[in-house]
């Protein structure tokens, strides 16, 4: 099957800044794909390269097998939901949603009907006559979504679309976006710096750092088997063990990751450790331990007995939980 979007050794340099540096990536049709990384890691630039707002300085991008080289954004059958929504302030909600159809020359009656249908799809019926300034953040987000979806794009690009929403609204929208994507079957490419969001929504995740993709995989894969220290650090809060400690823990003498929730605390067996701190997180308690001078975090389900500060304890885990990584990056 032709990938929906294909990056072939794509670079985008701004002067000496390598925003995107030699990225190879295939995004499959119908996939909910997340680009995850800290700010400045190149994920947003990648999105803008797909939309056509940026041109690669090296390599090629293909959209459904067709080359996008030198194709302006208005000729790409790809639509974007902007981080700041970018709703047109001079148009009401209906005209905002119908904008793409208006440009295509669809007659007024048809485009109004389709815009209304799409507003219903994003659960915002009856808001057509309002101005963007009269809407709440969550409502604007839905209008921005409708404005993109009404054009039936081949790929929908979402640039941190939930970043401006508060926590409760964000969780609702995550579910809605996911089910919308499954209903419509459109390829969604989603940029976020929130690892929880990426893991819970996406079919596959690409982790970016310094203009490069560090790892691509399914959320479970990224979470359990980080390929590099950066991924282990950035996705969740895994313990990154230096080679000496990894060897002491029974692994090969390489950098390794060990999930805090995979560690048990006991009185016997395992390895000696000292409790140096504990913080209550709600659903769990994080206990910080010192093992031969290295810090190891342990996540205890809430309700378990929390050892007191300075107490000597033993920590243990299944051998499979210790995951050696490819490189030291």
């Amino acid at each position: 099957m032709t990938p929906a979007v294909s990056f072939q050794n794509v670079s985008r340099h701004f002067g000496s800044v390598r925003a995107v540096d030699g990225v190879n990536l295939d995004i499959e049709e119908g996939e909910f794909f997340a680009m995850l990384g800290p700010s400045g890691s190149g994920k947003t630039t990648c999105l803008r390269l797909i939309a056509g707002f940026e041109q690669p300085t090296g390599g090629h991008i293909k959209i459904f097998g067709e080359t996008a080289d030198g194709v302006p954004p208005y000729r790409r059958n790809v639509n974007t939901v902007f981080q700041d929504y970018a709703l047109f302030p001079h148009l009401n909600v209906i005209d905002n949603v119908a904008y793409g159809l208006m440009i295509k020359g669809v007659d007024r009656a048809t485009r109004t009907r389709r815009a209304e249908e799409t507003l219903e799809l994003v659960r915002l019926p009856g808001y057509g006559a309002r101005r963007p300034g009269q809407l709440s953040g969550g409502q604007r987000q839905r209008v921005a979504l409708a404005r993109a979806l009404v054009n039936e794009p081949k790929v929908l690009l979402l640039d941190e679309p939930l970043g401006a929403l508060d926590l409760k609204l964000r969780e609702n929208m995550q579910e809605e976006l996911k089910s919308l994507q499954q209903t419509l079957g459109i390829t969604f490419v989603f940029v976020t710096h929130d690892q929880g969001e990426a893991l819970s929504m996406a079919d596959r995740v690409a982790v970016f750092n310094e203009g490069r993709i560090i790892q691509v995989g399914e959320p479970e894969d990224i979470y359990r088997r980080p390929r590099a220290r950066f991924v282990a650090d950035f996705v969740g809060s895994s313990n990154v063990l230096p080679p000496d400690l990894a060897q002491a823990f029974g692994g090969p003498r390489r950098w390794a990751s060990l999930r805090p929730e995979d560690i048990r605390i006991g009185k016997t067996g395992g390895h000696a450790a000292t409790v140096t701190g504990a913080s209550f997180l709600g659903a769990a308690t994080r206990v910080a331990c010192d093992v031969n001078g290295a810090r190891v975090n342990v996540l205890l389900p809430s309700g378990s007995a929390v050892p007191s500060l300075g107490a000597p304890i033993r920590i243990s885990f299944d051998a499979a939980a210790l995951h050696p990584m490819d490189d030291a990056a």
Partner: protein, 314 residues
């Protein structure tokens, strides 16, 4: 899933093709957008300006009255003759006094508008400054001719208050006096202050608006008297606005030739000298040399203002 192509054909035609070209070459679009204004301002305005400045290095032939097009500093020597220096000094002193007076009068308006005026009053203050700023310069000068005339409203009001003797005493003074207010240096000064005052209020207000009220309260909280707060907190914070406003009042006074001509005695100012030299005297080199004075003064002033950070308030 829809079977539409991923890459669309575009609308074609001339506009479609042009649009694609501009998108691919954004510098071309930038070039096309900048060319007309830069040609206009660069050739017509800067060209004329440099041509004028160049002529200040020419001189006038005393016998034929023609401009001799050879490089010389003779005209600048002429500029520094006692009578011309007199004009320059008089103008600069007037500009400085006008600026000082504008600062004093503008401050309460700007302070009140920035700190206390809200809602409707804010609009009243804004328009109250904008309308005089934009209303006709000549009409304003004309209004003052009416006011300052011997038989005008000021003379009448002072007469009613039995203060005519005070006005007469003032007008009898040398330098500032004259036959009536409308033909005295005092009159020139008043009209300058009036006409340029709005140019001082607006930037000052802009600067004061950036001073959070809490900062003044903090000063009072720390035991400063209102006078101390004014001197140590308010004035330094308003300074960028004062500097920005004084750029206007100074520059406008330096270049004006109409106000002293209509309301004033026969004492000459730089603007009048430029006007006379290029017109009746036909001495373009000297007129050009005279224009260098305000340019040099304003250049120096702008440079100092930039160091004081005044441009953030513009």
């Amino acid at each position: 899933m829809n079977g539409a192509p991923a890459i669309l054909a575009g609308r074609g035609g001339l506009f479609g093709a042009l649009s694609d070209t501009f998108w691919r070459h954004p510098r071309l679009l930038l070039f096309l957008m900048l060319t007309p204004p830069l040609l206009w301002l660069g050739i017509i305005y800067l060209g004329s300006l440099f041509a004028l400045l160049a002529q200040s290095f020419f001189s006038i032939d005393e016998f034929s009255g023609m401009v001799r097009r050879e490089f010389t500093l003779k005209t600048y020597g002429e500029l520094l003759s006692p009578s011309n220096l007199d004009i320059i000094i008089r103008t600069v002193v007037m500009a400085a006094l006008v600026t000082a007076a504008c600062i004093v009068i503008a401050f309460p308006v700007a302070y009140f508008a920035a700190r206390y005026a809200r809602g409707r009053w804010k609009a009243v203050f804004y328009l109250g400054v904008m309308l005089p700023l934009w209303s006709s310069y000549l009409v304003k000068v004309y209004a003052w001719k009416l006011i300052l005339a011997k038989e005008g409203i000021v003379g009448w009001a002072l007469g009613k208050l039995h203060l005519t003797w005070l006005l007469d005493a003032w007008l009898a003074l040398p330098v500032v006096g004259g036959p009536s207010l409308s033909v005295s240096t005092t009159g020139t000064f008043i009209v300058f202050v009036y006409v340029w005052l709005p140019f001082m209020i607006l930037p000052m207000q802009a600067a004061l608006e950036r001073v959070p009220g809490s900062m003044l309260e903090a000063s009072a909280d720390l035991g400063a008297s209102p006078r101390q707060t004014f001197r140590t907190v308010l004035v330094p914070l308003a300074l960028p606005g004062i500097v920005a406003g004084s750029i206007f009042t100074f520059s406008l006074t330096l270049g004006d030739y109409i106000i002293p001509q209509i309301i004033g005695n026969s004492a000459r100012y730089i603007g009048m000298a430029v006007y006379a030299q290029q017109g009746t005297a036909g001495n373009i080199p000297l007129a050009a040399a005279f224009t260098v004075v305000p340019i040099a003064i304003m250049g120096l002033y702008l440079w100092m203002a930039k160091r004081a950070g005044a441009f953030d308030a513009l």
